[in-house]
Protein backbone atom coordinates (compact mmCIF):
# COMPACT_ATOMS: atom_id res chain seq x y z
CA UNK A 1 0.00 0.00 0.00
CA UNK A 2 1.44 3.37 -0.94
CA UNK A 3 1.74 6.14 1.59
CA UNK A 4 -1.04 7.98 -0.18
CA UNK A 5 -3.44 5.05 0.05
CA UNK A 6 -2.57 4.54 3.67
CA UNK A 7 -3.42 8.11 4.52
CA UNK A 8 -6.56 7.91 2.49
CA UNK A 9 -7.55 4.82 4.36
CA UNK A 10 -6.77 6.44 7.71
CA UNK A 11 -8.97 9.38 6.79
CA UNK A 12 -11.67 7.04 5.61
CA UNK A 13 -11.56 5.04 8.82
CA UNK A 14 -11.72 8.22 10.82
CA UNK A 15 -14.77 9.36 8.88
CA UNK A 16 -16.51 6.07 9.49
CA UNK A 17 -15.85 6.22 13.21
CA UNK A 18 -17.21 9.75 13.37
CA UNK A 19 -20.23 8.52 11.45
CA UNK A 20 -20.83 5.72 13.93
CA UNK A 21 -20.39 7.99 16.93
CA UNK A 22 -22.71 10.57 15.40
CA UNK A 23 -25.33 7.96 14.71
CA UNK A 24 -25.18 6.85 18.32
CA UNK A 25 -25.21 10.38 19.55
CA UNK A 26 -28.34 11.19 17.58
CA UNK A 27 -30.07 8.24 19.14
CA UNK A 28 -29.53 5.81 16.27
CA UNK A 29 -29.95 2.16 17.01
CA UNK A 30 -27.16 0.26 18.56
CA UNK A 31 -27.51 -2.60 16.08
CA UNK A 32 -27.28 -0.26 13.12
CA UNK A 33 -24.10 1.25 14.49
CA UNK A 34 -22.68 -2.15 15.16
CA UNK A 35 -23.49 -3.24 11.61
CA UNK A 36 -21.63 -0.28 10.08
CA UNK A 37 -18.75 -1.01 12.35
CA UNK A 38 -18.51 -4.67 11.47
CA UNK A 39 -18.67 -3.92 7.73
CA UNK A 40 -15.89 -1.41 7.94
CA UNK A 41 -13.40 -2.59 10.48
CA UNK A 42 -11.64 -5.61 11.71
CA UNK A 43 -10.27 -3.57 14.55
CA UNK A 44 -9.67 0.04 15.51
CA UNK A 45 -7.06 1.72 17.64
CA UNK A 46 -7.98 3.55 20.79
CA UNK A 47 -6.23 6.56 19.35
CA UNK A 48 -8.53 6.43 16.31
CA UNK A 49 -11.59 6.58 18.50
CA UNK A 50 -10.25 9.34 20.66
CA UNK A 51 -9.37 11.48 17.65
CA UNK A 52 -12.84 10.83 16.26
CA UNK A 53 -14.31 11.99 19.53
CA UNK A 54 -12.17 15.07 19.44
CA UNK A 55 -13.42 15.75 15.94
CA UNK A 56 -16.95 15.61 17.30
CA UNK A 57 -16.13 18.00 20.14
CA UNK A 58 -14.60 20.35 17.59
CA UNK A 59 -17.86 20.35 15.63
CA UNK A 60 -19.68 21.59 18.69
CA UNK A 61 -20.66 18.49 20.58
CA UNK A 62 -20.87 19.31 24.26
CA UNK A 63 -17.91 17.58 25.90
CA UNK A 64 -20.25 16.44 28.65
CA UNK A 65 -22.07 14.32 26.07
CA UNK A 66 -18.90 12.50 25.30
CA UNK A 67 -19.13 10.76 28.60
CA UNK A 68 -22.38 9.10 27.63
CA UNK A 69 -21.03 8.40 24.22
CA UNK A 70 -18.02 6.69 25.72
CA UNK A 71 -20.19 4.16 27.45
CA UNK A 72 -22.01 3.28 24.29
CA UNK A 73 -19.03 3.21 22.01
CA UNK A 74 -17.31 0.89 24.45
CA UNK A 75 -20.08 -1.57 23.78
CA UNK A 76 -20.06 -1.13 20.01
CA UNK A 77 -16.33 -1.37 19.68
CA UNK A 78 -16.06 -4.02 22.33
CA UNK A 79 -13.46 -6.62 21.65
CA UNK A 80 -12.39 -4.85 18.51
CA UNK A 81 -10.27 -2.19 20.10
CA UNK A 82 -6.61 -2.99 19.83
CA UNK A 83 -4.43 -1.42 22.40
CA UNK A 84 -0.83 -1.98 23.32
CA UNK A 85 -1.85 -3.31 26.66
CA UNK A 86 -4.84 -5.31 27.73
CA UNK A 87 -7.80 -3.10 28.46
CA UNK A 88 -9.26 -3.77 31.85
CA UNK A 89 -13.03 -3.67 31.40
CA UNK A 90 -13.63 -2.60 35.00
CA UNK A 91 -11.53 0.47 34.44
CA UNK A 92 -13.70 1.40 31.48
CA UNK A 93 -16.80 1.61 33.64
CA UNK A 94 -18.26 5.09 33.94
CA UNK A 95 -17.08 6.73 37.13
CA UNK A 96 -14.09 4.44 37.64
CA UNK A 97 -11.16 6.75 38.50
CA UNK A 98 -9.25 5.52 35.46
CA UNK A 99 -12.17 6.16 33.12
CA UNK A 100 -12.66 9.62 34.65
CA UNK A 101 -9.00 10.46 34.34
CA UNK A 102 -8.88 9.39 30.70
CA UNK A 103 -12.05 11.30 29.95
CA UNK A 104 -10.57 14.47 31.40
CA UNK A 105 -7.43 13.90 29.38
CA UNK A 106 -9.54 13.56 26.26
CA UNK A 107 -11.24 16.88 26.93
CA UNK A 108 -7.97 18.58 27.83
CA UNK A 109 -6.41 17.27 24.61
CA UNK A 110 -9.34 18.60 22.66
CA UNK A 111 -9.09 21.98 24.38
CA UNK A 112 -5.46 22.21 23.32
CA UNK A 113 -5.61 20.71 19.83
CA UNK A 114 -9.01 21.93 18.70
CA UNK A 115 -9.23 25.31 20.35
CA UNK A 116 -6.12 26.79 21.94
CA UNK A 117 -3.57 25.94 19.25
CA UNK A 118 -5.77 26.66 16.21
CA UNK A 119 -6.83 30.00 17.73
CA UNK A 120 -3.22 30.85 18.47
CA UNK A 121 -2.29 30.10 14.87
CA UNK A 122 -5.14 32.13 13.43
CA UNK A 123 -4.44 35.00 15.79
CA UNK A 124 -0.79 34.99 14.68
CA UNK A 125 -1.82 35.08 11.02
CA UNK A 126 -4.71 37.49 11.30
CA UNK A 127 -2.65 40.26 12.80
CA UNK A 128 -4.93 41.70 15.43
CA UNK A 129 -8.17 39.74 15.40
CA UNK A 130 -9.52 40.28 18.88
CA UNK A 131 -11.93 37.37 18.53
CA UNK A 132 -9.12 34.82 18.52
CA UNK A 133 -7.38 36.48 21.43
CA UNK A 134 -10.62 36.27 23.40
CA UNK A 135 -10.86 32.57 22.63
CA UNK A 136 -7.24 32.03 23.62
CA UNK A 137 -7.93 33.74 26.94
CA UNK A 138 -10.99 31.62 27.52
CA UNK A 139 -9.17 28.41 26.65
CA UNK A 140 -6.33 29.23 29.05
CA UNK A 141 -8.79 30.09 31.77
CA UNK A 142 -10.40 26.66 31.23
CA UNK A 143 -6.99 25.03 31.23
CA UNK A 144 -6.22 26.45 34.68
CA UNK A 145 -8.80 24.01 36.01
CA UNK A 146 -6.37 21.20 35.17
CA UNK A 147 -5.43 21.86 38.78
CA UNK A 148 -8.34 19.63 39.83
CA UNK A 149 -7.14 16.77 37.67
CA UNK A 150 -3.65 17.03 39.14
CA UNK A 151 -4.88 17.57 42.70
CA UNK A 152 -6.96 14.39 42.53
CA UNK A 153 -3.98 12.45 41.28
CA UNK A 154 -1.68 13.94 43.91
CA UNK A 155 -4.04 13.43 46.82
CA UNK A 156 -5.72 10.14 46.00
CA UNK A 157 -3.44 8.11 43.75
CA UNK A 158 0.00 9.24 44.93
CA UNK A 159 -0.53 8.33 48.60
CA UNK A 160 -1.51 4.81 47.57
CA UNK A 161 1.48 4.48 45.25
CA UNK A 162 3.57 5.57 48.19
CA UNK A 163 1.93 2.90 50.31
CA UNK A 164 2.98 0.27 47.81
CA UNK A 165 6.52 1.55 47.83
CA UNK A 166 6.36 3.37 44.51
CA UNK A 167 7.76 6.64 45.77
CA UNK A 168 10.02 8.09 43.11
CA UNK A 169 7.53 8.45 40.23
CA UNK A 170 4.92 10.41 42.22
CA UNK A 171 7.59 12.71 43.56
CA UNK A 172 8.92 13.47 40.10
CA UNK A 173 5.44 13.75 38.63
CA UNK A 174 4.24 16.13 41.32
CA UNK A 175 7.17 18.40 40.52
CA UNK A 176 6.18 18.43 36.85
CA UNK A 177 2.51 19.03 37.74
CA UNK A 178 3.57 22.11 39.65
CA UNK A 179 5.75 23.24 36.78
CA UNK A 180 2.79 22.90 34.41
CA UNK A 181 0.53 24.84 36.78
CA UNK A 182 3.15 27.59 36.74
CA UNK A 183 3.46 27.54 32.93
CA UNK A 184 -0.31 27.84 32.49
CA UNK A 185 -0.45 30.69 35.01
CA UNK A 186 2.35 32.46 33.13
CA UNK A 187 0.67 32.03 29.75
CA UNK A 188 -2.63 33.20 31.21
CA UNK A 189 -0.91 36.20 32.70
CA UNK A 190 0.76 37.08 29.38
CA UNK A 191 -2.46 37.09 27.34
CA UNK A 192 -4.19 39.30 29.88
CA UNK A 193 -1.39 41.80 30.29
CA UNK A 194 -1.84 45.42 29.21
CA UNK A 195 -0.20 46.31 26.93
CA UNK A 196 -0.09 42.88 25.36
CA UNK A 197 3.42 41.42 25.22
CA UNK A 198 5.10 40.35 22.01
CA UNK A 199 3.15 37.73 20.06
CA UNK A 200 6.12 35.44 19.90
CA UNK A 201 6.46 35.50 23.65
CA UNK A 202 2.83 34.44 23.95
CA UNK A 203 3.25 31.80 21.28
CA UNK A 204 6.29 30.32 22.99
CA UNK A 205 4.52 30.23 26.36
CA UNK A 206 1.42 28.53 24.98
CA UNK A 207 3.42 26.03 22.97
CA UNK A 208 5.41 25.08 26.03
CA UNK A 209 2.15 24.59 27.94
CA UNK A 210 0.90 22.34 25.16
CA UNK A 211 4.07 20.25 25.07
CA UNK A 212 4.18 19.73 28.81
CA UNK A 213 0.48 19.03 29.27
CA UNK A 214 0.48 16.49 26.43
CA UNK A 215 3.59 14.81 27.80
CA UNK A 216 1.96 14.54 31.22
CA UNK A 217 -1.16 12.97 29.72
CA UNK A 218 1.05 10.41 28.04
CA UNK A 219 2.89 9.68 31.28
CA UNK A 220 -0.34 9.29 33.20
CA UNK A 221 -1.94 6.93 30.74
CA UNK A 222 1.03 4.97 29.44
CA UNK A 223 3.23 4.71 32.50
CA UNK A 224 1.43 5.60 35.71
CA UNK A 225 -1.89 3.81 35.12
CA UNK A 226 -0.34 0.51 33.95
CA UNK A 227 2.02 0.72 36.93
CA UNK A 228 -0.68 1.24 39.56
CA UNK A 229 -2.83 -1.36 37.83
CA UNK A 230 -0.34 -3.96 39.02
CA UNK A 231 -0.72 -3.07 42.67
CA UNK A 232 -4.02 -1.28 43.34
CA UNK A 233 -6.90 -3.41 44.60
CA UNK A 234 -10.59 -2.91 43.87
CA UNK A 235 -10.88 -1.39 47.35
CA UNK A 236 -8.09 1.08 46.53
CA UNK A 237 -9.96 2.26 43.45
CA UNK A 238 -13.11 2.51 45.56
CA UNK A 239 -11.31 4.73 48.07
CA UNK A 240 -9.98 6.92 45.26
CA UNK A 241 -13.44 7.25 43.71
CA UNK A 242 -15.03 8.11 47.04
CA UNK A 243 -12.54 10.88 47.74
CA UNK A 244 -12.61 12.38 44.27
CA UNK A 245 -15.82 14.43 44.38
CA UNK A 246 -14.50 16.61 47.19
CA UNK A 247 -11.55 17.70 45.11
CA UNK A 248 -13.44 18.17 41.88
CA UNK A 249 -12.96 17.59 38.19
CA UNK A 250 -11.48 19.28 35.17
CA UNK A 251 -13.97 20.31 32.49
CA UNK A 252 -16.30 17.37 33.02
CA UNK A 253 -19.47 16.98 35.06
CA UNK A 254 -19.26 15.10 38.31
CA UNK A 255 -19.05 11.48 37.19
CA UNK A 256 -21.45 8.76 38.21
CA UNK A 257 -20.67 7.35 41.60
CA UNK A 258 -18.56 4.24 41.19
CA UNK A 259 -18.02 1.47 43.67
CA UNK A 260 -16.05 -1.72 43.30
CA UNK A 261 -18.32 -4.72 42.85
CA UNK A 262 -18.64 -7.18 45.69
CA UNK A 263 -17.32 -9.83 43.34
CA UNK A 264 -14.16 -7.84 42.66
CA UNK A 265 -13.64 -7.11 46.34
CA UNK A 266 -14.03 -10.78 47.13
CA UNK A 267 -11.71 -11.74 44.35
CA UNK A 268 -9.04 -9.51 45.89
CA UNK A 269 -9.68 -10.98 49.31
CA UNK A 270 -9.55 -14.59 48.16
CA UNK A 271 -6.64 -14.30 45.80
CA UNK A 272 -4.43 -11.61 47.20
CA UNK A 273 -3.23 -9.79 44.13
CA UNK A 274 -0.29 -11.79 42.96
CA UNK A 275 2.47 -9.57 44.10
CA UNK A 276 4.22 -8.47 40.97
CA UNK A 277 7.99 -8.35 40.93
CA UNK A 278 7.94 -4.61 41.07
CA UNK A 279 5.80 -4.43 44.18
CA UNK A 280 7.65 -7.17 46.01
CA UNK A 281 10.98 -5.57 45.41
CA UNK A 282 9.76 -2.11 46.27
CA UNK A 283 8.00 -3.25 49.38
CA UNK A 284 11.20 -4.83 50.61
CA UNK A 285 13.06 -1.61 49.95
CA UNK A 286 10.35 0.46 51.61
CA UNK A 287 10.24 -1.81 54.63
CA UNK A 288 13.98 -1.68 55.06
CA UNK A 289 13.86 2.07 54.83
CA UNK A 290 11.04 2.37 57.31
CA UNK A 291 12.86 0.13 59.76
CA UNK A 292 15.97 2.21 59.41
CA UNK A 293 13.99 5.36 60.05
CA UNK A 294 12.29 3.94 63.11
CA UNK A 295 15.60 2.71 64.47
CA UNK A 296 17.21 6.06 63.90
CA UNK A 297 14.36 7.75 65.66
CA UNK A 298 14.37 5.39 68.59
CA UNK A 299 18.09 5.79 68.96
CA UNK A 300 17.73 9.53 68.88
CA UNK A 301 15.57 9.32 71.94
CA UNK A 302 17.21 8.50 75.19
CA UNK A 303 14.09 6.94 76.66
CA UNK A 304 13.07 4.16 74.32
CA UNK A 305 10.17 3.42 76.62
CA UNK A 306 8.38 6.43 75.20
CA UNK A 307 7.77 4.88 71.82
CA UNK A 308 6.06 1.96 73.50
CA UNK A 309 3.72 3.93 75.71
CA UNK A 310 2.77 6.12 72.83
CA UNK A 311 1.77 3.28 70.59
CA UNK A 312 -0.34 1.54 73.20
CA UNK A 313 -2.03 4.83 73.85
CA UNK A 314 -2.99 5.32 70.25
CA UNK A 315 -4.23 1.75 69.98
CA UNK A 316 -6.62 2.34 72.78
CA UNK A 317 -7.92 5.44 71.15
CA UNK A 318 -8.31 3.80 67.80
CA UNK A 319 -10.56 1.10 69.16
CA UNK A 320 -13.13 3.69 70.08
CA UNK A 321 -12.99 5.98 67.12
CA UNK A 322 -16.78 6.01 66.96
CA UNK A 323 -19.13 6.90 69.76
CA UNK A 324 -20.09 3.33 70.45
CA UNK A 325 -20.22 1.26 73.56
CA UNK A 326 -16.80 0.62 74.89
CA UNK A 327 -15.84 -2.92 75.59
CA UNK A 328 -15.37 -3.95 79.13
CA UNK A 329 -11.77 -3.43 80.09
CA UNK A 330 -10.00 -6.74 80.41
CA UNK A 331 -8.24 -6.10 83.70
CA UNK A 332 -10.36 -7.56 86.46
CA UNK A 333 -9.51 -4.73 88.80
CA UNK A 334 -10.97 -2.22 86.41
CA UNK A 335 -14.26 -3.93 85.69
CA UNK A 336 -17.00 -1.46 85.05
CA UNK A 337 -20.75 -1.53 85.47
CA UNK A 338 -21.41 -1.48 81.77
CA UNK A 339 -24.47 -3.69 82.15
CA UNK A 340 -26.13 -1.16 84.40
CA UNK A 341 -26.37 1.87 82.23
CA UNK A 342 -28.05 3.92 84.90
CA UNK A 343 -25.76 4.57 87.78
CA UNK A 344 -27.80 5.83 90.64
CA UNK A 345 -26.60 7.98 93.42
CA UNK A 346 -26.38 5.06 95.78
CA UNK A 347 -23.87 3.20 93.65
CA UNK A 348 -22.02 6.40 93.09
CA UNK A 349 -21.83 7.01 96.81
CA UNK A 350 -20.63 3.46 97.34
CA UNK A 351 -17.93 3.89 94.80
CA UNK A 352 -16.77 7.09 96.35
CA UNK A 353 -16.81 5.54 99.76
CA UNK A 354 -14.84 2.58 98.46
CA UNK A 355 -12.33 4.93 96.99
CA UNK A 356 -12.02 7.00 100.12
CA UNK A 357 -11.89 3.97 102.37
CA UNK A 358 -9.03 2.01 101.12
CA UNK A 359 -7.25 2.86 97.96
CA UNK A 360 -3.97 4.57 98.04
CA UNK A 361 -3.73 7.30 95.49
CA UNK A 362 -1.25 5.17 93.60
CA UNK A 363 -3.45 2.12 93.23
CA UNK A 364 -6.33 4.45 92.63
CA UNK A 365 -4.91 5.67 89.40
CA UNK A 366 -4.63 2.16 88.02
CA UNK A 367 -7.22 0.15 89.86
CA UNK A 368 -10.34 2.14 90.27
CA UNK A 369 -12.89 2.82 87.60
CA UNK A 370 -12.00 5.92 85.70
CA UNK A 371 -15.38 7.52 85.98
CA UNK A 372 -15.21 7.71 89.73
CA UNK A 373 -12.48 10.23 89.35
CA UNK A 374 -15.01 12.84 88.36
CA UNK A 375 -16.78 12.40 91.61
CA UNK A 376 -13.63 12.40 93.62
CA UNK A 377 -13.84 14.93 96.33
CA UNK A 378 -10.15 15.56 96.23
CA UNK A 379 -9.37 19.21 95.72
CA UNK A 380 -8.57 19.63 92.04
CA UNK A 381 -5.55 21.78 92.25
CA UNK A 382 -3.12 19.48 90.50
CA UNK A 383 -3.09 18.96 86.75
CA UNK A 384 -5.27 16.02 85.83
CA UNK A 385 -3.95 13.83 83.09
CA UNK A 386 -6.30 13.19 80.22
CA UNK A 387 -8.29 10.01 80.76
CA UNK A 388 -10.69 7.94 78.84
CA UNK A 389 -13.78 6.89 80.76
CA UNK A 390 -17.32 5.65 80.39
CA UNK A 391 -20.30 7.81 81.13
CA UNK A 392 -23.50 6.65 82.79
CA UNK A 393 -24.73 5.13 79.52
CA UNK A 394 -21.55 3.25 78.90
CA UNK A 395 -20.42 5.69 76.20
CA UNK A 396 -16.82 6.77 76.08
CA UNK A 397 -15.88 10.22 77.16
CA UNK A 398 -12.61 11.97 77.55
CA UNK A 399 -11.68 13.68 80.74
CA UNK A 400 -9.38 16.59 80.16
CA UNK A 401 -7.85 18.69 82.86
CA UNK A 402 -10.48 21.36 82.29
CA UNK A 403 -13.57 19.31 81.68
CA UNK A 404 -15.11 16.39 79.91
CA UNK A 405 -16.20 15.83 76.33
CA UNK A 406 -17.90 12.81 74.90
CA UNK A 407 -17.01 11.53 71.47
CA UNK A 408 -20.04 13.05 69.76
CA UNK A 409 -19.16 16.44 71.17
CA UNK A 410 -15.55 16.10 70.24
CA UNK A 411 -16.48 15.05 66.71
CA UNK A 412 -18.86 18.00 66.43
CA UNK A 413 -16.24 20.43 67.65
CA UNK A 414 -13.65 19.26 65.17
CA UNK A 415 -16.23 19.45 62.43
CA UNK A 416 -17.15 23.05 63.16
CA UNK A 417 -13.75 24.41 64.13
CA UNK A 418 -13.04 27.22 61.63
CA UNK A 419 -9.56 25.86 61.10
CA UNK A 420 -8.25 23.00 59.02
CA UNK A 421 -6.23 20.72 61.24
CA UNK A 422 -3.89 17.96 60.16
CA UNK A 423 -1.99 15.97 62.72
CA UNK A 424 1.26 14.26 61.85
CA UNK A 425 2.45 11.78 64.45
CA UNK A 426 5.88 11.43 66.03
CA UNK A 427 6.99 9.22 63.15
CA UNK A 428 6.10 11.94 60.64
CA UNK A 429 3.16 9.98 59.30
CA UNK A 430 -0.19 11.64 58.77
CA UNK A 431 -2.42 10.44 61.61
CA UNK A 432 -5.60 12.47 61.25
CA UNK A 433 -7.16 15.51 59.67
CA UNK A 434 -10.24 17.52 60.48
CA UNK A 435 -12.82 18.00 57.80
CA UNK A 436 -15.56 20.57 57.80
CA UNK A 437 -16.20 19.97 54.12
CA UNK A 438 -14.39 23.14 53.07
CA UNK A 439 -10.73 22.49 53.45
CA UNK A 440 -8.36 25.00 51.90
CA UNK A 441 -5.97 22.27 50.86
CA UNK A 442 -7.50 18.96 49.97
CA UNK A 443 -6.75 16.06 52.26
CA UNK A 444 -7.95 12.56 51.53
CA UNK A 445 -8.21 9.47 53.66
CA UNK A 446 -5.59 7.91 51.45
CA UNK A 447 -2.92 10.09 53.08
CA UNK A 448 -3.60 8.79 56.56
CA UNK A 449 -0.70 6.62 57.65
CA UNK A 450 1.57 7.89 54.92
CA UNK A 451 4.77 9.83 55.38
CA UNK A 452 3.85 13.50 55.53
CA UNK A 453 6.81 14.39 53.39
CA UNK A 454 5.16 12.63 50.47
CA UNK A 455 1.98 14.66 50.87
CA UNK A 456 3.65 17.89 49.82
CA UNK A 457 4.77 19.13 46.45
CA UNK A 458 8.49 18.46 45.95
CA UNK A 459 9.23 22.17 45.91
CA UNK A 460 8.25 22.45 49.56
CA UNK A 461 9.90 19.14 50.51
CA UNK A 462 13.03 20.68 52.04
CA UNK A 463 11.10 23.28 54.01
CA UNK A 464 8.70 20.72 55.47
CA UNK A 465 11.53 18.39 56.37
CA UNK A 466 13.49 21.16 58.07
CA UNK A 467 10.49 22.16 60.19
CA UNK A 468 9.86 18.56 61.25
CA UNK A 469 13.53 18.01 62.04
CA UNK A 470 13.58 21.15 64.16
CA UNK A 471 10.43 20.02 65.95
CA UNK A 472 11.96 16.65 66.69
CA UNK A 473 15.17 18.24 67.89
CA UNK A 474 13.21 20.73 69.95
CA UNK A 475 15.06 23.68 68.43
CA UNK A 476 11.77 25.38 67.61
CA UNK A 477 8.14 24.67 68.26
CA UNK A 478 6.26 26.56 65.59
CA UNK A 479 6.44 27.92 62.08
CA UNK A 480 4.04 30.06 60.10
CA UNK A 481 3.36 30.97 56.49
CA UNK A 482 0.77 33.06 54.73
CA UNK A 483 0.01 32.81 51.06
CA UNK A 484 -2.41 34.12 48.46
CA UNK A 485 -4.25 31.06 47.30
CA UNK A 486 -7.21 30.97 44.94
CA UNK A 487 -8.42 34.40 45.89
CA UNK A 488 -8.06 33.98 49.62
CA UNK A 489 -5.34 34.72 52.13
CA UNK A 490 -4.38 31.42 53.71
CA UNK A 491 -2.58 31.44 57.03
CA UNK A 492 -0.76 28.18 57.71
CA UNK A 493 0.85 27.39 61.01
CA UNK A 494 2.74 24.37 62.25
CA UNK A 495 3.05 23.58 65.93
CA UNK A 496 5.15 20.99 67.70
CA UNK A 497 2.79 18.93 69.86
CA UNK A 498 4.07 17.39 73.06
CA UNK A 499 2.45 14.77 75.22
CA UNK A 500 1.83 15.23 78.90
CA UNK A 501 5.34 14.07 79.71
CA UNK A 502 6.79 16.65 77.40
CA UNK A 503 7.81 14.14 74.75
CA UNK A 504 7.43 15.10 71.11
CA UNK A 505 4.09 13.70 69.98
CA UNK A 506 3.80 15.15 66.51
CA UNK A 507 3.11 18.19 64.42
CA UNK A 508 -0.19 19.99 64.10
CA UNK A 509 -0.81 21.85 60.87
CA UNK A 510 -3.40 24.60 61.22
CA UNK A 511 -4.63 26.26 58.05
CA UNK A 512 -7.07 29.10 58.10
CA UNK A 513 -8.75 31.37 55.59
CA UNK A 514 -8.03 34.78 57.14
CA UNK A 515 -9.34 36.91 54.29
CA UNK A 516 -12.32 38.09 56.28
CA UNK A 517 -10.40 38.43 59.52
CA UNK A 518 -7.95 40.75 57.81
CA UNK A 519 -10.79 42.91 56.58
CA UNK A 520 -12.43 43.43 59.97
CA UNK A 521 -12.44 47.02 61.16
CA UNK A 522 -13.93 48.87 64.07
CA UNK A 523 -15.95 46.57 66.27
CA UNK A 524 -19.20 44.71 66.47
CA UNK A 525 -20.08 43.90 70.02
CA UNK A 526 -22.77 41.79 71.55
CA UNK A 527 -24.38 44.99 72.75
CA UNK A 528 -23.97 46.76 69.41
CA UNK A 529 -27.09 47.53 67.45
CA UNK A 530 -27.57 45.26 64.45
Amino acid sequence: MSQNELEHSAVYRQKKIVEILQLLHQGGSFDEAKAIFDQTFASVDVSEITSAERALIATGLNPMEIQHLCNVHAAVFKGKISDNHVVNPVQEQPGHPVQVMKLENLIITSLLKDELLPCLKKWQQSGTDAQYLTRIRRALKDLITIDKHYARKENTIFPLMDKYGITAPPKVMWGVDDKIRGLIATANDLVNRVPLPDKYEIEAAIEQVNTEVMEMIFKEEQIMLPMVDEVFTAADWGLIASESDDIGYTLIAQPLPWRPSTADLEKDANTPKKVPAIAAELNEAAKALAEQEDLARLNKRAGVKKGVTKSTGSEKISTISKPVQVEKPSQPGASMPVETPVIDDKIRAEKIAEFKAGMSSDSASTGRPEWTKVFSEQPKTAYERTKLALDANGLAEIHFNNGTLNLAELTGIFKILPLDLTFVDANDNVAWFSDDGHRIFPRTKAVVGRAVINCHPPKSYDKVKKILDDFHAGSRDQAEFWIDFRGIKAYIRYFAVHDEDGEYAGCLEVSQDITRIQQLEGERRLDSED
Binding site: I166, T167, A168, P169, V172, T211, M214, E215, F218, K219, Q222, I223, M224, P226, M227, I278, E281, L282
Partner: protein, 79 residues
Amino acid sequence: MVQVIDLDLPVYNLVQEVPAVVPVMVGLGLDGVTSPALLKTAGRFMTLRKGAAMKQIPLSELIAQLEQAGFEVDDHESE
Protein backbone atom coordinates in the same frame (compact mmCIF):
# COMPACT_ATOMS: atom_id res chain seq x y z
CA MET B 1 29.39 -7.13 17.64
CA VAL B 2 26.53 -4.79 16.93
CA GLN B 3 24.07 -4.59 19.78
CA VAL B 4 20.41 -4.89 18.92
CA ILE B 5 17.95 -2.51 20.50
CA ASP B 6 14.37 -3.67 20.95
CA LEU B 7 12.06 -0.65 20.83
CA ASP B 8 9.41 -2.45 22.89
CA LEU B 9 11.62 -3.79 25.64
CA PRO B 10 11.00 -2.08 28.97
CA VAL B 11 13.73 0.48 29.52
CA TYR B 12 14.54 -1.17 32.84
CA ASN B 13 15.59 -4.37 31.03
CA LEU B 14 17.05 -2.55 28.06
CA VAL B 15 19.47 -0.59 30.22
CA GLN B 16 20.64 -3.77 31.93
CA GLU B 17 21.28 -5.42 28.58
CA VAL B 18 22.64 -2.40 26.75
CA PRO B 19 23.93 0.22 29.19
CA ALA B 20 25.45 2.19 26.32
CA VAL B 21 21.95 3.25 25.26
CA VAL B 22 21.64 5.61 28.22
CA PRO B 23 23.44 8.62 26.68
CA VAL B 24 21.33 8.31 23.52
CA MET B 25 18.15 8.36 25.61
CA VAL B 26 19.32 11.38 27.58
CA GLY B 27 20.08 13.05 24.27
CA LEU B 28 16.44 12.52 23.27
CA GLY B 29 15.23 14.18 26.46
CA LEU B 30 14.43 10.91 28.21
CA ASP B 31 16.56 11.78 31.20
CA GLY B 32 14.46 9.87 33.74
CA VAL B 33 16.60 6.88 32.80
CA THR B 34 19.44 8.26 34.92
CA SER B 35 17.42 7.96 38.13
CA PRO B 36 17.72 4.43 39.55
CA ALA B 37 14.50 4.85 41.56
CA LEU B 38 12.56 5.85 38.46
CA LEU B 39 14.21 3.21 36.32
CA LYS B 40 13.15 0.49 38.78
CA THR B 41 9.52 1.64 38.75
CA ALA B 42 8.43 3.67 35.75
CA GLY B 43 11.25 2.08 33.75
CA ARG B 44 9.40 -1.22 33.78
CA PHE B 45 6.58 0.42 31.84
CA MET B 46 8.52 2.77 29.61
CA THR B 47 9.88 1.64 26.26
CA LEU B 48 11.84 3.50 23.63
CA ARG B 49 8.77 3.50 21.38
CA LYS B 50 6.67 5.06 24.13
CA GLY B 51 9.44 7.51 24.97
CA ALA B 52 9.62 8.73 21.40
CA ALA B 53 5.83 9.13 21.26
CA MET B 54 5.89 11.03 24.54
CA LYS B 55 8.56 13.43 23.34
CA GLN B 56 6.84 13.65 19.94
CA ILE B 57 9.92 12.36 18.19
CA PRO B 58 9.10 10.55 14.91
CA LEU B 59 9.97 6.87 15.06
CA SER B 60 12.22 7.26 12.01
CA GLU B 61 14.26 9.87 13.84
CA LEU B 62 14.58 7.69 16.91
CA ILE B 63 15.81 4.79 14.76
CA ALA B 64 18.23 7.06 12.90
CA GLN B 65 19.68 8.34 16.18
CA LEU B 66 20.12 4.83 17.54
CA GLU B 67 21.75 3.62 14.33
CA GLN B 68 24.02 6.61 14.30
CA ALA B 69 25.14 5.65 17.79
CA GLY B 70 26.12 2.26 16.40
CA PHE B 71 23.13 0.13 17.40
CA GLU B 72 20.95 -2.09 15.33
CA VAL B 73 17.24 -1.52 15.86
CA ASP B 74 14.64 -4.22 16.18
CA ASP B 75 11.41 -2.58 15.14
CA HIS B 76 8.80 -5.33 15.34
CA GLU B 77 6.45 -3.56 12.99
CA SER B 78 8.78 -3.69 10.00
CA GLU B 79 9.12 -7.44 10.16
